[in-house]
């Protein structure tokens, strides 16, 4: 009597569909990932129930840190270089090609007064991270933020302005920023918030 043996199937399997899927996902994530930029100061935004998402492009972000420092950020490399040059002309500082390029490629916010901007841009990328930025001046007598906003809007007409404030930022600083915007006829702007945590 022949012994009935179970058919031994081979342990190999066709991996092609799995690999296809894996590569599809890899491609998807590679193309959609936007790396978080290395911000000079951490900002913990307050939460809200608002569900409007911030647009991907044409955003000017004014960041207000916990200790009331103001930072400026804007997207678009060419626009950035342009704005820097215009700011230079306004304040009598000339930026050469390398400095403009350096400014254009920095993805993080910048909080350096225009007077020390040249010095800051001449540093290497790694050294720049170590610099303690003192924030953009927003006093009523010496308001560089106003000029940044003005020049940016002249450069990119579709710009939307967003304020990204730390939840513990002092109100007077925020008030000053908002007043600066209103003075520049920016009456509509966005406040960047977080998702409301379920209570």
């Amino acid at each position: 009597m022949a012994k009935v043996r179970p058919h031994r199937s081979s342990p190999t399997l066709d991996m092609t569909p799995m690999v296809d899927l894996a590569f599809l996902l890899v491609t998807f994530f590679m193309l959609t990932t936007k790396f978080a930029t290395d911000e000079p100061v951490p900002v913990d935004t307050p939460s809200s129930v608002s569900e409007i998402k911030i647009p991907d492009t044409d955003v000017l972000t004014i960041m207000v840190s916990k200790d009331g420092l103001v930072f400026f950020n804007m997207d678009g490399q060419y626009n950035r270089a342009d704005v820097l040059q215009k700011m230079g002309t306004r304040y009598g500082v000339t930026f050469d090609q390398t400095e403009q390029h350096a400014f254009a490629v920095i993805a993080s916010s910048i909080g350096v007064p225009i007077a020390s901007m040249k010095q800051y841009l001449d540093l290497g990328a790694e050294e720049r991270k170590l610099v303690r930025q003192e924030g953009i001046p927003i006093d009523s007598l010496h308001n560089e933020l106003a000029d940044w906003v003005l020049e940016s809007r002249l450069t990119n007409r579709r710009l939307r302005i967003a304020i990204k404030g730390d939840r513990d930022a002092d109100f007077p600083t925020i008030k000053k920023v908002i007043k600066t915007l209103i003075d520049r006829k920016v009456n509509r702007f966005n406040l960047i918030t977080n998702m409301e945590k379920p209570a």
Binding site: V19, V26, S48, K53, R167, L191, T193
Partner: protein, 169 residues
């Protein structure tokens, strides 16, 4: 795990005729798959999925003519103070100032009550210098939640500060 040809690499036929060794068309995909999944894991973990939300606000123009006149009985003034406190009063003439907070039973209840009692409610939001940015965002959020259409962010006046001082003491 890897795919290796099952047929045995050919050439071992009985005929004895020397044939070119027929190589398998299958290749070992394991290293490639390993790499693909490594990359996949990396991108999945680094992807920043939650885009931040925004709140849109529109401020009135500064050089606008006269600000619109409203009946003071319809005006609810909220003053953001220190330590997440909210001082509130109705009207301007000799108001009774009360204190509340950002909890569900505090500001939200108050707003709902006032909204029911005063159909033409207008809320004035004032922030003392000691208040935090968070307070402003929270109060704007409350306006949203309670669907209060008419509100304005205005500066604190001396009168407000006087009124609040009385409450604190």
């Amino acid at each position: 795990m890897s795919e290796i040809s099952q047929e045995g690499g050919g050439g071992k036929k009985k005929g004895g005729k020397i044939r070119a060794k027929k190589t398998s068309t299958r290749i070992d995909m394991t290293p490639m798959v390993d790499l693909a999944f490594l990359l996949l894991t990396f991108f999945v973990l680094t992807a920043t999925l939650n885009k931040p939300q925004t709140m849109e606000i529109t401020m009135p123009e500064e050089d606008e003519k006269e600000p619109p006149k409203v009946n003071e009985k319809h005006v609810l003034t909220l003053v953001m103070g220190k330590n997440d406190k909210i001082y509130w009063y109705i009207g301007i003439t000799d108001p009774e100032v009360k204190v509340t907070n950002f909890s569900n039973t505090g500001i939200r209840k108050l707003l709902l009550e006032k909204k029911r009692d005063i159909p033409k409610l207008i809320v004035l939001i004032k922030s003392l210098d000691e208040s935090k940015y968070k307070n402003m965002v929270d109060i704007l959020d409350e306006m949203n939640i309670n669907s209060i259409q008419r509100y304005a962010i205005v500066d604190v006046t001396k009168v407000d500060k006087e009124l609040i001082k009385d409450v604190q003491l």
